[in-house]
């Protein structure tokens, strides 16, 4: 894809500080259309904060954010989501006393704009139910669709997190450690699902599981103390001594 095309997401001089602590320091970042991009960096580097600013969950201190060329810096979270920005949470954030199915359907209803309808019963919207079911199936959660989320083991809750994001049919998808807490074989499933997504969806993934990152990403950005340390192709990053020093370490990983 041409680097000249309007990026799916772009930030210019994005800054964020919590009191004296700067967690985003003039970040200039481009998520190209259809990109498979990874954001890595030490704990506390500001990755989650960056995602939160992109989605509007946190206001930025200064700088600007564009989505498909449109300035969304001051837009509400809801408005950004409606424009096709989806995310998952690093720390699971679900409707814990609702069945898995409703967790997914809720987002689809928002996407379809039916959430304000007050007359027809929700269960009568079979298109929404079926779609929610299909997303759960993709994550291997068919049998759990009617189980209340609270009673599921942690690993499965992580998968619902992804199913919800899929339900939003986002144009740009931000995944914050989607595989944390998911056993290795299941994380393989996550990769498969992501691989099946239409190519024009731009995906940004945050992960500490390097195996997953290197298998998935075509491009990697390294964030250290709120600033971009470097950006490049996976092999380039893997061999960058600075990245090894601050993040990867010398040991191997499985």
């Amino acid at each position: 894809m041409s680097a000249l095309a309007t990026p799916a997401l772009e930030t210019q001089m994005l800054c964020k500080a919590f009191g004296a602590l700067t967690v985003a320091d003039d970040i200039n970042f481009r998520l190209e259309q259809g990109a498979r991009h990874a954001l890595i960096g030490p704990n506390g580097a500001g990755k989650t904060t960056f995602v939160n600013m992109l989605t509007g969950a946190l206001p930025s201190s200064s700088g600007r954010i564009f989505m498909n060329g449109e300035d969304i810096t001051t837009m509400s979270q809801a408005a950004r989501t409606q424009r096709g920005l989806g995310r998952t949470f690093q720390i699971t954030s679900l409707f814990r006393s609702l069945p898995a199915l409703d967790n997914v359907a809720m987002g689809i209803a928002e996407r379809e704009g039916v959430a304000l309808r007050m007359w027809k019963p929700a269960s009568g919207y079979s298109a929404i139910r079926d779609e929610a079911m299909s997303h759960l199936e993709k994550m291997g959660l068919r049998d759990e669709a009617l189980t209340v989320v609270r009673d599921l083991p942690y690993g499965k809750q992580r998968l619902i997190e992804i199913a919800i994001a899929l339900g939003l049919k986002p144009k740009a998808l931000l995944l914050d450690e989607p595989a944390a807490g998911v056993p290795s074989i299941e994380s393989g499933r996550i990769l498969d699902v992501l691989a099946e997504l239409p190519k024009d969806i731009a995906i940004l993934i945050i992960e500490h599981d390097m195996e997953l990152v290197f298998r998935f990403a075509e491009r990697i950005t390294v964030l250290v103390q709120g600033a971009v340390l470097t950006e490049g192709a996976p092999d380039q990053i893997a061999n960058d001594q600075r990245v090894r020093d601050v993040y990867l370490g010398e040991g191997g990983h499985d």
């Binding site: 960096g41 030490p42 704990n43 506390g44 989650t48 690093q90 720390i91 690993g155 370490g249 499985d254």
Partner: protein, 234 residues
């Protein structure tokens, strides 16, 4: 020498539901045990049961020779069991310092300073509230908090999830050192089977609430096929 922990015929679960059945194992002083198994087989439940956080149905848990299965949770902690839960369970409304201090054992050898030495990140964020930490920092805090209780055994439920590789390395080194120098024993639940096996003496593989394999870690690590069969396939 008595064992730090010995578990026999343990049955436990949530309410009337029994998850764990007939679980047996022992852990010597300064020992380290890996607990492996697929998603939802009961690894978390096992650790939580040792801590006293599930419904106990039967069997025996001994810490340094004393039966503890009927003690309240806090008493088990005071005896010397430290717990790093899978979902971290940081106290969101307490600052980093407070999170550590509430767990401090009287006359223990762990202090704020030592924890901050181990995790410099935390030292820099000592006034942040629990819910104002990055995911990884919460993980570090959870480990640090367990150490503040001056434990004789540390139960760690997927402690490396969400940590940068370099941090994992340094924690692993630190834990090895603790085991050696501070006479600490460790039970480690991890998804990364190989890495875990490399640093533990013994391993235990679970399936559907039962132990289906137990033996030296090195043996399991060497036998790729067995490992794949036990942990990956069902």
């Amino acid at each position: 020498m008595t064992d730090v922990l010995s578990v026999s015929k343990l049955r436990a679960g949530y309410g009337e539901t029994v998850i764990l059945e007939d679980v047996d194992f022992t852990l010597p002083e300064q020992g380290s045990l890996a607990v492996l198994g697929r998603n939802g087989v009961g690894k978390t439940t096992l650790l939580a049961t040792i801590m006293g956080r599930t419904t106990y149905h039967g069997g025996e848990i001994k810490y340094r020779g004393e039966k503890i299965e009927n003690l309240p949770i806090y008493e088990r902690c005071r005896r010397g069991i430290g717990y790093v839960p899978q979902t971290r369970e940081i106290f969101p409304s307490l600052s980093v310092e407070e999170n550590l201090l509430v767990a401090e054992a009287q006359g223990g050898k762990w202090t704020l300073e030592r924890i901050f030495e181990l995790f410099p990140n935390l030292g820099n964020r000592r006034r942040n509230r629990g819910n104002q930490l990055s995911g990884g920092e919460q993980q570090m805090l959870s480990i640090g908090r367990a150490l503040m209780g001056n434990p004789g055994i540390l139960l760690m439920d997927e402690p490396f999830e969400g940590l940068a590789p370099i941090i994992i390395e340094s924690i692993l080194k630190a834990v090895e050192k603790l085991i050696r120098e501070e006479a600490l024993a460790v039970i480690l639940v991890e998804q990364h089977a190989k890495m875990t096996l490399r640093v533990t003496q013994n391993a235990l593989v679970m399936s559907r609430g039962r132990v289906i394999h137990s033996g030296p870690s090195a043996g399991l690590l060497a036998d790729e096929e067995l490992l794949a069969r036990l942990v990956v396939a069902q």
